[in-house]
């Protein structure tokens, strides 16, 4: 089994070899390492993408808007991913970001996962009827575990989820009531003597 350290180093060098700058190659190394850590096929997809890149001219998207569509070929998932990371402060203000035609979307996902951590928000992604939840770069929840990621996506929708509870107020109150059973009801003397602070604040 290859270690993650080996994966990151090999990806960085290979990315430099196909023409990315050293700084971008470092980003790619980190992202593919993360995909492999999550059990997704980073190496396989990157390898295939770099092969395709020799015959196809993928488009670079340097400035991300709410709606993005390439003029001809699909977007390069790497430049798209790095741009997304770099522009995280502006893109997170969009309600939904739509991107048409992306090559090897799983590669892009690795950058989105890191973007989720940087922004501190979960990211919900829908592409070609598949749904993925990127959870602060701690994990990726998807229904792809038993199927291959496609090497092309016609459209991706990205939504930053506001941090909100997954439970109702009454469910919380019910649980909190149980937690209160570990507390002690304070008598007057306990109220006076057990806190240790706040008794002589009129100074």
């Amino acid at each position: 089994m290859r270690s993650l350290s080996e994966i990151e180093t090999a990806v960085k060098r290979a990315s430099r070899a196909v023409g990315f700058s050293w700084g971008n190659s470092e980003e790619i190394g980190k992202s593919i390492r993360q995909l492999e850590l999550f059990g997704l096929q980073g190496i396989k997809n990157l390898n295939q993408y770099y092969k395709d890149k020799t015959t196809k001219k993928f488009e670079d998207l340097n400035l991300i808007n709410e709606k993005n569509e390439p003029s001809l070929e699909a977007y390069c998932p790497i430049i798209l991913g790095i741009s997304f990371l770099d522009q995280i402060k502006s893109v997170e203000s969009y309600e939904i970001i739509k991107i048409k035609k992306i090559a090897y979307p799983v590669i892009f996902l690795s950058f989105l996962s890191r973007a989720s951590e940087i922004s501190g928000k979960k990211i919900h992604v829908i592409f070609d009827k598949n749904e993925i939840l990127l959870n602060l770069n701690v994990n990726i929840y998807s229904n792809f575990f038993h199927q291959e990621f496609p090497n092309f996506s016609n459209e991706i929708e990205i939504k930053f989820l506001n941090n909100q509870d997954s439970f109702t107020e009454s469910e919380w109150n019910s649980l909190y009531k149980l937690a209160e059973n570990t507390f002690v009801e304070e008598s007057d003397s306990l109220k006076q003597g057990a806190a240790g602070a706040g008794l002589t604040d009129n100074d």
């Binding site: 089994m1 290859r2 270690s3 993650l4 350290s5 080996e6 060098r13 990315f20 700058s21 050293w22 700084g23 971008n24 470092e26 980003e27 980190k30 340097n62 400035l63 790095i82 741009s83 990371l85 770099d86 522009q87 995280i88 402060k89 502006s90 890191r114 940087i118």
Partner: protein, 553 residues
């Protein structure tokens, strides 16, 4: 009194970094301190009469076991090479996580002797190989088999029976990734498992030499005297492979240097020095003279440094014995200021290291700060502005900005990775081919390039906007934001200039390992000795903390 930390623009120069010496903060010493309470055991010793076969040594505490698995092999003299291009070694080693099963040992027997072309698993933590100093090893075998102890003068000249030629860890060749084990308290210090491997290998070399001598002449052979064993270490040959490490791990480098600088600052801030602390300091300085006089090297470069060191340390001893009042306030600060005025860089750093000896209370808590979770600082704050980045560079790289990279000699060299061995190398840009495949280790040049580019941009544009059309500078943009927070993360020198002495980079790292007796064999590789004078594993529970200065060699 409040003492400022020393200026990174002075300390992070290569000539200063290349003058660093081991100290209480060094990894081999903090390793011994951490593992002194662990149970040491030789679990397996299955060598034939010539000393070839397998052995296993372990450290155990509660449920945690680390096992060194050793494979000693027969090789021809002409196959023995310390260079990384070698394919066979006298012995090969791996540190296994836990107790290796029979199956593990069989698997490792096939893989470990192959080193870089073998495959290890997540159950292995470090990997290494070593060659005998044949002259010394054979002499010791002959002497012991005849019932005599070996010639101490010969042993003193070399200092070890074996020298390692590489020690690998952190995920190389399938070894466990650091993240799998990073939460273990006992290894919360850099290179602790690498230090364990080398330390246990040292014991294997003593056991092997005794074993071979015994089988050569069972009736009259004696064992190598324990005191002689203690005065032997493990040699190491180190080439350029180590140099890029300190460039590629900026926050880790910062934490090593910052820890050392913090210790020095705290010692200089001590108002009254206790008599016992003063005596210990002076005792270590005096005893350390043996380390200098027994420091052998053929390198003229190092001989000059040693000569100057010896002269300066004698001058310093004369000063503290005859002209200095230790009862004055802040004596270590006064000593430091005297050193800055009167002795060479090598001597300043030598005494700085020894200043730490009496102060476990200062150094011990600092050791845990010497690791780094580098991923935490990887992301670039792209919402910041070009103006801010420009200011950071002006503040943090003032000397780098003075270098004229239009001059040929300022970019005479380039770093590359050898296709044959996948190891870093340095070559003349104008004499050799391959500079188009240069590694991103010319930080000074690229920082200056970045700065010049920033000058032509509008001040208020964001780093995200800047990077969208300047991706070739991304690696140094990242570094500049790192150095903003970590002042000692960057070498403040030109790593591709004509006058670069690459062994300065190696020495910096090796001093933090705890190496002694740097012996440069050229400007690109050197030999060192580790654990010379260190307690044997059976003595760890109660050992002299200042063993470094009490070796007889």
């Amino acid at each position: 009194m409040k003492i400022e930390l020393r200026d990174p623009n002075t300390i992070m120069k290569l000539s200063r970094l290349g003058s660093f010496h081991q100290s209480k903060l060094s990894f081999l010493r903090s390793f011994l301190s951490e593992f002194k309470d662990w149970d040491y055991k030789r679990d397996l010793f299955n060598l034939d009469h010539n000393g070839y076969g397998e052995a296993v040594y372990s450290f155990k505490k509660k449920d945690r076991v680390y096992s060194l698995v050793c494979f000693a092999n027969e090789i021809d003299d002409q196959e023995r090479s310390d260079r990384v291009i070698a394919t066979k070694w006298d012995a090969a080693f791996t540190l296994h996580d836990g107790v290796p099963s029979r199956d593990d040992i069989e698997r490792l027997k096939n893989e470990v002797p192959k080193q870089e072309v073998g495959r290890l698993s997540f159950k292995e933590l470090t990997l290494s190989r070593a060659n005998k100093s044949v002259r010394v090893f054979n002499h010791v075998v002959d002497s012991l088999s005849e019932g005599k102890q070996p010639d101490l003068e010969l042993l003193s000249k070399v200092g070890y029976l074996y020298r390692t030629t590489a020690v690998y860890g952190s995920g190389k060749f399938g070894l466990a990734d650091r993240f799998r084990i990073k939460n273990r308290e006992e290894i919360n210090g850099p290179f602790r498992l690498e230090m364990m491997l080398v330390y246990l290998v040292r014991q294997f070399t003593f056991d092997q030499v005794n074993h071979v001598a015994h089988h050569k002449n069972p009736k009259s052979a004696v064992k190598l005297d324990k005191q002689i064993c203690k005065n032997l270490g493990i040699g190491n040959s180190t080439g350029l492979g180590m140099a890029p490490f300190i460039v590629n791990h900026p926050t880790l480098l910062n934490n090593w240097i910052l820890t050392r600088e913090t210790a020095l600052k705290k010692i200089r801030e001590i108002k009254d020095v206790k008599e016992k602390d003063r005596e210990l300091f002076i005792d270590c300085i005096k005893k350390s003279l043996t380390n200098i006089t027994s420091w052998n090297t053929d390198s003229e470069y190092q001989q000059k440094k040693i000569k100057s060191l010896l002269k300066n340390i004698k001058k310093f001893i004369d000063y503290i014995e005859n002209s200095f009042d230790f009862k004055a306030e802040y004596p270590f600060n006064k000593i430091y200021l005297w050193l800055e005025k009167n002795v060479c860089e090598e001597s300043i750093e030598y005494v700085v290291s020894i200043m730490m000896e009496p102060y476990n209370n200062i150094t011990e808590p600092l050791v845990s700060n010497m690791s780094s979770d580098e991923d935490r600082y990887f992301n670039i704050p792209t919402n910041r502005t070009v103006n801010e980045l420009q200011k950071i560079i002006e503040n943090k790289y003032p000397n780098i900005l003075d270098i004229n990279f239009d001059q040929k000699e300022s970019q005479q060299n380039f770093w590359f990775i050898s296709k044959n061995k996948e190891e870093p190398r340095l070559a003349d840009r104008f004499e050799e081919h391959g500079s188009e495949l240069e590694q991103p280790l010319a930080i000074a040049r690229d920082i200056k390039k970045l700065y010049e580019k920033l000058l032509s941009e509008k001040n208020n544009i964001t780093i995200a906007q800047f990077l969208s059309s300047n991706s070739e500078l991304r690696h140094v943009v990242r570094r500049a934001f790192i150095v903003e927070k970590f002042p000692y993360s960057e070498i403040q020198d030109n790593t591709i200039g004509k006058d670069i002495v690459p062994i300065d980079m190696l020495r910096l790292k090796l001093s933090f390992f705890g190496a002694l007796k740097f012996d440069p064999r050229s400007d690109k590789w050197l030999r060192i000795c580790m654990f010379q004078g260190a307690p044997l594993p059976t003595e760890l529970k109660n050992y002299d903390d200042q063993w470094v200065y009490k070796s007889n060699n």
